[in-house]
């Protein structure tokens, strides 16, 4: 059953007249938090709203929590919809939709003063004497059951709420129906019917007596109404495909698994394949097998799995085999907080392998950037025959954002089959003075001598040697090629003036909160700028001189301050530039930064020192 939106079974008789009589209030943006249990399908609803934003010239950012028990448990999905730029999922919420008493109790404090708590009267008994908020009680569960017919119990409550939100916020019902149809249309006929019944029950729910207003989310700046709505893991995955990755190997782990699952399904279409291995050691080895065979390959994992790949990554450096490595970071140490965000694997990415192992580390700053960083990683890995680690994280992995579709004719990599052109007699796989790619199997060696790729120190021909001068020269070679890359890296974009009192510096998923914080401080009259560093190792060459133009360089990161009071990126920056203006704002509570935490950190450092 496929129902085009205009054929959607919304009965004409649905009476929305009463609620449409409410006065309209214009909103620039709104933060809505759905709080329930993971089984309630609130992610689905959140995803629909995000996708609608992508189709209706609005911006969106989402945030969700995942219960740590297998059988599910309390979970939230927060949607920040806006007409201007939406940079974070919002510190505080304007609307709280509470499904259960625990949802209400745990999340009420997230509401701004004057915010509205919409609750399910079938499960929640709010304390109406708390006058900081407004309360709207609706029998969500029973109304849904009534609408669908008793059998399916409370399933569908999420779509009831979606209907409700649609009417409250004057959302585009037709587009939403299309989106619902695409999700459920492929399933059993009854599934779509029930979904639409629940949706309509919410849409038609008489809210006239309950709300003071209806709301109008103004259309955004972007003209485009055909933008892409997706999460960071998905963006990253397709970036790899666009970048020319045709082979991959991995082992499941949260939150990396979705990347490997999509690659496993997609790669055969591209003539490649993804191998699920027995463990991460096998996975990185198989990936290096592809590289040796002449392909651009990927492996990845999350923290614990990355630790297991460190020995083979040391080999890859010595053998100069190209490889893209994904680490979707989560809370550590050890199994830690597997479904929370943290940025504590940066040092490991750079320094985790034994020996002097120069390699490249990149950090995408938002969902769209996951796509572009993946492309860049592919390019760098190939050009420099090096390993590029992409540090994504749990927040980026599951967060939904809207962005413009890439220009495929520009971004898609050329033919990525192995280069088997015969190599001339004088071919050296590791010349001291230039970049090269090794000769993969199948290549004829015209000089008659075939090469062995090795993890032992070796001469220019790849032949093992323990000659002291050679080890020095080859160490130089491995370092200098990464410095050559460094020379071509762009400086990070600076938001605000290029000199001033404070430069806020961050990396990865904290882009939004940092930029918002900078904006807020600028509005308050302070000379604050912001730069998000996407090239973490090597750092862009002129970064040190940018830093010198600020009184304070405050590096905000979701990791620990360590033994010397510096977060991981701050440690790197301080050591590279020896600039005591570089200070840290860190935390490890498994949550992303709130704007006010950054502002507080700025106040702290600038008061201390002024």
């Amino acid at each position: 059953m496929t129902i085009a939106a205009d054929e959607a079974p919304l009965k004409d008789s649905v009476d929305t007249s009463e609620s449409s009589a409410l006065p309209l209030e214009d909103l620039q943006d709104a933060v809505i938090r759905f709080a329930g249990n993971s089984q309630d399908g609130i992610q689905t609803v959140g995803g629909f709203l995000a996708r609608l934003a992508g189709r209706s010239a609005r911006e969106v950012m989402t945030y969700m929590t995942i219960p740590s028990t297998i059988s599910g448990g309390p979970s939230i999905f927060q949607v920040h919809l806006g007409s201007g730029e939406v940079l974070s999922a919002g510190d505080d919420t304007d609307f709280l939709v509470a499904f259960y008493q625990h949802s209400y109790e745990d999340h009420l404090s997230s509401l701004k003063e004057g915010g509205i708590c919409i609750y399910d009267t079938d499960f929640v008994e709010p304390d109406l004497t708390d006058k900081r908020y407004e309360y709207v009680g609706i029998p969500m569960t029973s109304t849904t059951i009534e609408a669908i017919g008793g059998s399916t119990k409370s399933r569908g409550k999420n779509l009831f709420v979606l209907g409700l939100i649609t009417t409250i916020f004057q959302l585009d019902r037709k587009k939403l129906c299309e989106i619902i149809d695409r999700q459920f249309g492929k399933k059993d006929e009854s599934v779509l019917r029930n979904a639409m019944l629940a949706f309509d029950a919410g849409y038609a729910y008489p809210i006239g007596d309950l709300f003071k207003n209806r709301y109008n989310l103004k259309a955004g700046l972007s003209e485009k109404t055909d933008r892409v709505t997706t999460d960071g893991n998905t963006a990253l995955t397709y970036g790899l495909l666009a970048g020319g990755v045709r082979y991959g190997a991995g082992y499941p782990i949260t939150p990396w698994s979705p990347i490997m699952e999509v690659l496993r399904s997609e790669l055969p279409k591209y003539g490649g394949l993804f191998l699920q291995c027995e463990d991460e050691l096998g996975a990185v080895s198989a990936a290096l097998g592809y590289s040796f065979a002449g392909h651009l390959a990927v492996t990845g994992s999350s923290g614990p799995g990355l630790s297991l790949k460190m020995e083979a990554l040391s080999y890859a450096c010595m053998a100069e085999l190209p490889l893209v490595v994904i680490n979707v970071q989560r809370g550590g140490p050890s199994t830690g907080l597997p479904t929370s965000v943290e940025q504590s694997d940066l040092m490991q990415a750079i320094y985790g392998s034994h020996g002097d192992v120069p390699r490249v580390v990149l950090g995408p700053q938002d969902v769209e950037d996951c796509f572009h960083i993946a492309l860049e990683a592919c390019r760098i890995a190939k050009k420099y025959s090096t390993q590029v680690i992409i540090l994504s994280d749990q927040a980026l992995s599951s967060r939904i954002e809207v962005f413009e579709e890439p220009d495929w004719d520009v971004v898609v990599a050329d033919d990525s089959s192995p280069d088997l052109t015969p190599r001339p007699e004088e071919f050296k796989p590791y010349p001291l003075d230039s970049l090269t790619q090794h000769a993969p199997p199948g290549t004829k060696m015209l000089g008659g001598k075939y090469p062995v790729v090795t993890g032992l120190e070796h001469d220019e021909w790849g032949h093992p040697s323990a000659n002291p001068e050679l080890h020095q020269k080859m160490t130089d070679r491995r370092r200098e090629k990464i410095k050559q890359l460094q020379a071509e890296l762009p400086m990070p974009e600076v938001f605000g003036e290029k000199s001033g009192e404070i430069l806020l510096v961050g990396w990865g998923c904290t882009f939004g909160p940092l930029r918002e914080a900078a904006g807020r401080l600028q509005d308050a009259g302070r000379k604050v700028s912001h730069a998000q560093i996407r090239h973490l190792h090597p750092l862009p060459a002129d970064l040190g001189s940018l830093f010198e133009k600020f009184e304070h360089v405050l590096v905000a990161e979701l990791n620990d301050q360590g033994l010397y009071g510096n977060g991981q990126l701050a440690t790197l920056l301080r050591s590279a530039y020896c600039n005591p203006a570089i200070k840290s704002i860190t935390k490890t509570d498994g949550l992303t930064f709130k704007i006010r935490e950054i502002v507080a950190g700025v106040d702290h450092h600038t008061q201390i020192s002024s």
Partner: protein
């Protein structure tokens, strides 16, 4: 490994195939393994540039340096998954893995098992000397009980791995056992292994003359031992044939492997089961048929349309 009969334009000779002079100790069994491998390659005439030799770490694992072919000397214990990557993504090449008992049964034991059940198309020669050679005489997983090593000064006490049983139960599709002192036997085993389509393994006893001298004398006739070969079924309906070993029967193969000192030599097990290479390729072919001649950009465009 399969599909090997493609003749190279110029004839491949041992001379072309030899690279560095091996750094093994004089008398090391590994020399004979190398020589036999050369002879089989000469016989099969695999194009030189299609030969890939891969190894982990160990004395035996230095093998790739001594063969003038594309080669890779990897880290300890992970040669098989690396070779899996090569085999799956480059069906045009012939993938050989060489290594020792420590590399294969100790640190690499799990990869061996999963490579076997997945039936990856490659040939693996385990040069088993019942000791860690390169690191100078520690107990290996095949060291016999009582063997005195630096880590078992009063004699090894752990029951050793039974390589044939391990391989048969793991699902390797060609499992054989040979001996570095028996060049003809080795050659026969290697040739059959190479011609077998799928994961083929030949455990080859190869004496470490420095750290485990005399370890295989029991199976060397000129040292008073017995080299007992497996008498394979000929399917000739003779009464003698009933007594012979049916290499397609995994239970009798398992039984045959009971005594491992000195044990029997020859093919224990051979099975015709589709390789993972073939199974994955089927999926690739089916997927590509479905998409017609869509290019990468088309596929991406289509996928992104779904995200709007």
């Amino acid at each position: 490994m399969s599909d090997t009969a493609v003749a190279a334009p110029e004839k491949l000779t041992k001379k072309q195939l030899s690279a560095d002079h091996p750094t093994w100790c004089p008398g090391c069994g590994d020399f004979a393994v190398l020589a036999s491998f050369f002879k089989v390659l000469e016989k099969l005439q695999i194009p030189q540039e299609k030969i890939v030799t891969i190894a982990g770490i160990g004395c035996s694992s230095r093998f790739p340096y001594f063969v003038n072919s594309h080669g890779l000397h990897f880290i300890h214990g992970r040669a098989l998954p690396l070779a899996t990557g090569v085999s799956l993504s480059r069906p045009d090449t012939h993938v050989f893995v060489f290594g020792g008992d420590g590399d294969g049964f100790s640190i690499g034991g799990n990869h061996l098992e999963h490579c076997a059940r997945k039936n990856i198309n490659l040939t693996y020669v385990i040069m088993d000397n019942y000791v860690y050679g390169l690191t100078k005489k520690q107990t290996s997983p095949t060291s016999r009980i009582g063997y005195k090593s630096k880590t078992d000064p009063t004699g090894a006490i752990d029951r050793p791995v039974n390589p044939m049983r391990k391989l048969i139960s793991a699902g390797a599709t060609f499992v054989a056992r040979s001996h570095a002192s028996q060049v003809k036997h080795m050659m026969a085993m290697y040739e059959r292994a190479i011609l077998h389509p799928g994961f083929s393994v030949v455990q080859t006893l190869s004496e470490c003359v420095i750290f485990n001298p005399g370890s295989f004398d029991d199976s060397i006739p000129r040292k008073g031992g017995v080299f007992e070969t497996i008498d394979e079924k000929k399917w000739d309906d003779t009464p003698e044939d009933a007594e012979r070993h049916d290499v397609t029967n995994d239970v009798s193969a398992y039984q045959l492997a009971e005594d491992q000192y000195p044990g029997k030599f020859g093919v224990f097990y051979e099975e015709d089961r589709p390789t993972k290479n073939v199974l994955e390729q089927k999926w690739i072919d089916a997927s590509q048929e479905k998409i017609g001649d869509a290019k990468a950009a088309d596929l991406l465009r289509k996928r992104f349309a779904m995200m709007k």
